[in-house]
């Protein structure tokens, strides 16, 4: 129920809806909670929950977590894990 799946916007269907690729499966996702759907979202990543995008995950934000992880683990040389590539 609370599982949110990240995906990448492939195309825009209408002002409320985008087609999002979630690990190879494309679904029409409602973008109302992101302020609606628009062309600028193509190629960007979102977390999808019960058919609605609930948060955008930007590369910088991914990077920020990695930075935090690096700091905390004292690591400088970690590759981005697969799960981060969404």
């Amino acid at each position: 129920m609370c599982i949110a799946i990240p995906g990448k916007v492939k195309s825009i269907v209408n002002e409320n809806t985008a087609t999002i690729d979630m690990g190879g499966i494309c679904r029409d996702v409602n973008m109302d909670l992101m302020g609606g759907a628009n062309e600028s979202q193509i190629g960007r990543h979102f977390l999808v929950h019960v058919g609605y995008a609930i948060a955008e995950i930007s590369e910088e934000e991914s990077e920020e977590t990695m930075h935090l992880l690096r700091q905390i683990a004292g690591l400088e040389e970690i590759d981005t894990p697969e799960s981060e590539s969404i």
Binding site: C2, I3, D32, H49, I72
Partner: protein
Amino acid sequence: MENGNLPSKPAVPELEKKLLGRIKGSKKPLRIMHVCGTHERTIAKYGLRSILPKNIEVISGPGCPVCVTPEEDINIAIALAKSGATVVTFGDMMRVPGSAESLLDAKSEGANVKMVYSIDDAIALAEKKPELEVVFFGIGFETTVPANAAALLRKTPENFSLLTSQKQTPPAVEFLARDADVDAFIAPGHVATIIGTKPFESLAEKGFPIAVSGFEPGDILLGINLLQMQAEEGISRVDNGYPRAVKPEGNQIALKIMNEVFETSDSEWRGIGKIENSGLVLRKEFEEKDAAKKYEDLYASALEDVRKKTGGKDKKRCICAAILTGKAKPSQCPNFGKECTPKNPAGPCMVSQEGMCYNWFRYSREGGNRVA
């Protein structure tokens, strides 16, 4: 038993190893509660309990929305379906037993119950079949509720209404913190994408270290380590360990939409009881969409009927309430793995992928404490 699902060995790549090293370096004992079913899933799936040092205990709180939906609300949904309405809800919710049966049982007896992936599917059904009275059984936390709100802000057909059993997380965490034997909390990452980190601050002010965590094994280990660092320093604040998805202010658009449609109310949590200000019900302006109002008479008689029928009924010795409050482990339940399995759940914690009993059954009978 679902063979082949036991974890082989916990996945501990380089980064996780380093984090684990740091976690093991701290001698401070910590009893940590998480309140998210997806966290439980990661912990059980990767056998994290088995690799954590003995001084760190991670227990599961009421993090599965399916698990905390009260029997009475399920009974009412069943009664509406049996009276001719078409009750539509998420797959997991259909399998959770009410006092006597589940929505799925009612469906097999001929009641109109359908599974959907999203509230939008329910609205599409109402549009396509105007002859039906479609009632969407809306459960869930702040991750799900904004979707319900957004749907209602668009024009929905007259034959569509919402039966709500929606909940807010922070009041429940505060409630549990009052008497649970817990030192610190891992806050739910996906809920925090919507509400941000602020709502957890009052709990931190009460002396509980809090870390918002993501859902990879490394995220959980990071959360644990952040909590350890706070505890060692003798401080308590809200650390955001999931900044790639969670902003301190949350998703402002979603919050605005949610507040436009719903208002706070007290709410009943299965096995826990009433928690003040922990519910979200429709505002007056949307009452024509409220199934409880739309079918007022039916709702009242269903309520009376289910209360009459279920008074003093044996709850099949399900100890979900103790599990949801961190007071017991699934293996302490006499039904676990016997009368209660994912194929035939006797209680709500065995139904969903986020339920603690489900995860303990699926990944390890010892809940990841010992790995096969």
